[in-house]
């Protein structure tokens, strides 16, 4: 029992974070919003870092990392509000294909030549480049009809939900940071609004929600990596905890920004809209709630003080 990431994993995640901070700032989001969300240079940068092959074994040209490490990096993708489909391709589709032994195109995925996420029946559409995209509230998400052949495999769904949860944690953290920075500089009644307890306590509530969503996410990533039969419950728990934390933080951050938050000029809306999108993608709140409800109240999952890691 050692519930923490290795120094090596944390170092990898922080290098991704630095890279995205440097190359994928809000100026880039604004440019993608104007010109269209797909940018081969950004994709190539991610591929050059090895992220397309993060979960592919080293002997097949990948980095051979684990799902918890992928989740750690998916948090960074959420924090950066990344538009490229890295998470759905490299952290969802690829590990699914590997688990199924469908390795025919793995080298193409590792090299970033293939960037096509698999469709799943839980989603009515798929996030990918499209000539005539279905419009999303999120200006950086292009949606296409899923068409025939969408999978109904629960493992694909669990991978997708886990990684959506990871992105939601990163999105929540980014929105909390933005709200805190705004509360420090916006002055009213002769002081920064962040000195008022009415603001402080709302932001503290967001910090609590995020703090207690993160460990649920890591637990779910570990359970799915270890192939536990209970992994779907943990994944659903992570999706609920992360989704609820992100929505709470989105609404709170919006409130803290006051009327400015209602403008397109303030950056917050990119993250807020991604949170709205991911909250329902890879299984709605009701879908994930029901999975936990039936396992806990139905009695199929052991509970109690002596079942911490069941």
């Amino acid at each position: 029992m050692d519930f923490r990431f290795s120094e090596d994993s944390l170092l990898l995640a922080s290098s991704v974070r630095e890279y995205l901070t440097d190359t994928h700032g809000v100026d880039v989001l604004r440019r993608l919003d104007a010109e269209g969300p797909y940018d081969t240079a950004i994709w190539q940068g991610l591929v050059d870092m090895g992220l397309a092959g993060l979960l592919i074994p080293e002997c097949d040209g990948g980095l051979g990392r684990s799902l918890p490490e992928a989740a750690l990096i998916a948090v960074e993708c959420g924090r950066a509000c990344l538009a490229e489909p890295l998470v759905d391709v490299a952290f969802v589709t690829v590990p699914f294909l590997l688990a199924k032994g469908e390795t025919g195109q793995i080298a193409d995925y590792a090299a970033g030549r293939l960037a096509q996420p698999l469709a799943h029946q839980i989603n009515p559409y798929v996030v990918q480049k499209a000539d005539t995209p279905i419009a999303s509230v999120d200006p950086l998400r292009q949606l296409a009809a899923a068409g025939g052949g969408a999978s109904d495999d629960p493992h694909l769904l669990n991978l997708g939900a886990l990684m959506a949860a990871a992105q939601l944690v990163g999105i929540a953290e980014a929105m909390l940071d933005q709200a805190v920075e705004y509360a420090k500089i916006r002055q009213q009644f002769g002081q920064p609004i962040g000195a008022f307890q009415a603001i402080k306590h709302q932001l503290a509530n967001c910090a609590v929600a995020i703090e207690f969503a993160r460990p649920v996410l890591w637990r779910a990533a570990g359970a799915l990596d270890d192939g536990l039969a209970s992994a779907p419950i943990h994944v659903s728990h992570a999706k609920l905890a992360a989704g609820d934390a992100a929505i709470l933080t989105a609404e709170t951050a919006h409130q803290v920004h006051g009327a400015m938050g209602y403008t397109y000029e303030v950056d917050l809306h990119f993250w807020m809209k991604r949170a709205w999108a991911l909250q329902g993608y890879w299984g709605s709140r009701a879908f994930h709630y029901n999975r936990i409800d039936s396992a806990i109240l139905g009695g199929s999952h052991p509970i109690g003080a002596d079942a911490s890691f069941a």
Partner: protein
């Protein structure tokens, strides 16, 4: 990242489980907050001590088992899963014990720790005063040096366990010209010293577990001062850190409550609502989240890390979870919820727990104070009144 317990940890779990199965009283003890119940709980402390299960995190030399934090979590899980009683010794185990180990002289360690571990001396805390609650630095009670004694005058309040305990600890103003955090000293005192008047405070449930303490020229030997005159604030902050941090409320307690809540729901499923159902499932999720977080913090501390202002997030989380779980139970129980002596105690346990859960968001630093700490120290927002 590794989520399996080692064979040694599993063996330890089995050992705790076996001992608890043999020794935890079959019939729930009377509440700790009355004479009869307090005495029952002291008997339980001595039983724990006889099995060397009293102060499991303490070093062996002071009567502990020197458990690491993961073993402690396992111990607590099995303790609560077995329905172990509340600890009369709580103040000693987690507050005063670690404080004496960190700040006390060798003589003080030898004098105070063994009887604490044996359950022979039960300790009360004496922090708050009528004018110093959330704002503890507003303390006014004085301890003025007179030869080899301090002479204490003033008043403490909300002193938990003080109605029936043997000794107390708190901070007093040794420099009457000082203000706020300066000039305070941490002092231990025998509650039966002449000049101390205990006035038990009748609590929400009608019993009298905590008390007001009045000090009227109370003479306490200077060797009862911990860490030196004027160091009281630093010592108290370290103590409050232990309390608010990892050790005040281990996850086992809330997991056990969540499990009882699920069982209560199942037994009453035909008379409840979708909202109650969702509240029950939420209780399980939050208890699990608290558990994972605690294991994460434990791993961090075992690897040499420290717990800082994050402790405030913990305190907010568990105290509000506990209140929410008990409220849900009361709603499921409907008209039965108000009955004080309904059955073998299982319904009554919810009522007692609901009453007690109201104190959680207040003691050990109110949740408003915790939210300020979170906003200022973790998020970096300006301090209250700044600008």
């Amino acid at each position: 990242m590794q989520f399996q317990f080692t064979p040694e940890q599993e063996a330890f779990r089995a050992e705790v489980r076996a001992w608890m199965a043999r020794h935890v009283p079959k019939k729930p003890l009377v509440t700790l907050e009355c004479r009869e119940g307090f005495d029952q709980h002291v008997v339980w402390e001595k039983a724990l001590a006889s099995g060397n299960w009293g102060m499991v995190t303490w070093p062996r030399e002071y009567g502990g088992r020197a458990l690491d934090l993961i073993q402690w979590l396992i111990f607590e899980e099995e303790y609560f899963a077995a329905g172990g009683p509340n600890r009369a010794n709580q103040n000693g185990i987690f507050l005063l014990g670690p404080t004496i180990m960190e700040f006390g002289s060798d003589e003080q360690k030898a004098r105070f720790l063994p009887p604490m571990a044996a359950g022979d001396v039960i300790w009360a805390q004496a922090w708050s005063e009528p004018g110093a609650g959330s704002d503890m630095a507003a303390i006014r009670s004085t301890a003025i040096r007179d030869g080899d004694h301090y002479v204490i005058n003033g008043q403490k309040t909300w002193s938990s366990r003080a109605a029936f305990a043997d000794w107390g600890f708190g901070i007093f103003r040794t420099d009457p010209a000082s203000s706020r955090h300066k000039g305070l000293t941490f002092i231990l005192f025998d509650l039966n010293t002449p000049g101390i008047t205990r006035r038990p405070i009748r609590q929400l449930h009608g019993e009298t577990g905590f008390a007001e303490l009045f000090f009227d020229d109370v003479r306490v030997p200077v060797e009862n001062c911990l860490a030196g005159e004027g160091q009281g604030w630093n010592v108290a902050m370290a103590t409050a850190g232990f309390e608010r941090g990892l050790m005040l409320r281990s996850p086992g307690r809330f997991q056990a409550t969540a499990k009882r809540l699920v069982e209560l729901y199942r037994a009453n499923a035909d008379k409840t609502s979708p909202a109650a159902r969702e509240a029950v499932v939420n209780a399980w999720m939050r208890a699990q989240a608290y558990t994972y977080n605690t294991y994460m913090v434990a791993a961090k501390i075992m690897a040499g890390g420290k717990i800082g202002a994050e402790a405030s997030l913990n305190k907010i989380f568990w105290s509000e979870l506990d209140r929410d779980m008990h409220r849900t139970a009361m709603q499921i129980l409907g008209a039965y919820a108000e009955l004080k002596h309904f059955d073998d105690g299982s319904v009554n346990q919810w009522l007692e727990g609901y009453i007690f859960a109201h104190s959680g968001p207040i003691y050990a630093g109110s949740n408003e104070v915790q939210r300020n700490i979170t906003a200022e120290r973790l998020l970096g927002l300006p301090r209250v009144g700044a600008g």
